[in-house]
């Protein structure tokens, strides 16, 4: 009979919202932050220092970011949607379509302040792992990162779209996010909290029995 260890470490099979006492480790992760606004970049960097990220690459343009992701082993990228030149959506599309595996599978969070009408469609189908809208708090951003770490979605590659499966119908949306469809689950469904049933218990439930009426 299998039992789960105490829930003190946020692990990839655990899709619930992390509580304040749950532990995670970003100390060994390399994070790439892309924002054309230097001050925003510094603010974001301070937040990631708080998360315990030691290796951060701050990047003011997507052109520089394209070079960096091909040279360094980046584990997570955050990119602002409204970058001058190649915007955040185009950068992610390039990453997903034009780079080799496993680089193309890298989790990428796109941050949006105001999404101009012209850029909305571009952003939706670019292949971002998550689109986070501002304003946001460090706590919300951290929950999104942990959710990505525990991401159960399959990766999809097709002619028109490369990126994580956009459908979360069977997983439920991340905690604190309303589902897009009426049928979406209200909360994320993770692993069972209780002890698993053993095979004989399951057999007993499934086994047809003769009953006398």
């Amino acid at each position: 009979m299998e039992t789960r260890p105490p829930a003190t470490l946020f692990c990839s099979t655990d899709m619930r919202m992390a509580s304040a006492t749950d532990k995670f480790n970003l100390a060994q992760s390399m994070v790439l932050l892309i924002d054309h606004n230097q001050q925003s970049l510094e603010v974001l960097s301070s937040i990631f220092h708080g998360y315990g990220v030691k290796e951060q690459i701050k990047c003011g343009s997507t052109d520089d970011a394209m070079r960096i992701v091909q040279k360094r082993n980046v584990d997570l990228t955050l990119v602002d949607c409204s970058m001058p030149g190649m915007d955040g959506g185009d950068f992610i599309r390039w990453l997903r379509h034009e780079t080799p595996a496993p680089l193309r599978f890298m989790p990428v969070i796109m941050l949006t302040g105001h999404a101009a009408e012209s850029k909305v469609n571009n952003s939706l189908n670019c292949g971002a792992s998550f689109i986070v809208t501002k304003p946001l708090t460090p706590a919300v951003l951290l929950q999104r990162i942990l959710w990505l770490g525990a991401d159960e979605r399959e990766f999809v590659e097709s002619d028109t779209y490369v990126g994580p499966d956009r459908r979360v119908r069977n997983l439920g949306p991340p905690m604190a996010i309303a589902g897009r469809r009426a049928g979406d689950l209200s909360a994320h469904v993770g692993d069972a909290r209780d002890v698993n049933m053993n095979q004989s218990d399951i057999d007993m439930m499934m086994m047809p029995k003769r009953i006398s009426l």
Binding site: S12, F24, S46, S82, E117, K134, P135, P138, G149
Partner: protein, 162 residues
């Protein structure tokens, strides 16, 4: 057209998150917020300077300045996004929305922009607190934006002054 391929993939982020050690969610949040606070003063000064630039544009009303207005309002959103500046963020967002649509419709109205900028200045001066005044200002901005889209050609100042 080829068929879509679907497969599971565990990222390096997922693997590294599971490495023993690290810190708790609560501790990380506290440290991140502490780090954030060290930027508050400088950010608010930048926002103030950005509003001065917007006031300047409203006074001069240069042609083809619509994109600049949108960019400056976006800058405010980007900067205040991490701080608890609810009404200021909403007002800046409203200005972004308004200028984006005015640009798309080729119907630029400086008075609408000026009202937004003045509202943002008032909210900033009031410490970005949510108050009756901020609620009233935001209601006015919403009404102003709504009216603009109901009768875009009748409220307008001359076209081509963007």
């Amino acid at each position: 057209m080829t068929e879509a391929r679907q497969f599971k993939f565990q990222s390096s982020l997922a693997r590294k998150l599971e490495v023993p050690g690290g810190r708790s969610v609560g501790e990380a949040d506290r440290l991140a917020r502490e780090g954030l606070e060290t930027h508050r003063l400088a950010v608010m000064q930048t926002v103030d300077a950005t509003l001065v630039q917007l006031v300047g544009l409203c006074a001069e009303m240069p042609a083809d300045a619509g994109k600049s207005v949108y960019t400056l309002a976006s800058r405010v959103i980007d900067l205040v996004a991490y701080f608890d500046t609810g009404p200021l963020h909403e007002a800046a967002y409203s200005l972004c929305e308004l200028s984006d649509r005015m640009l798309a419709a080729d119907s630029w109205q400086w008075p609408s922009v000026l009202v937004h900028v003045q509202a943002m200045k008032l909210i900033l001066t009031d410490g970005c607190r949510r108050s009756r005044m901020s609620d009233m200002l935001l209601d006015c901005l919403k009404e102003l934006s709504g009216k603009h889209w109901e009768v875009p050609d009748k409220v307008g100042v001359s076209q081509g002054q963007r």
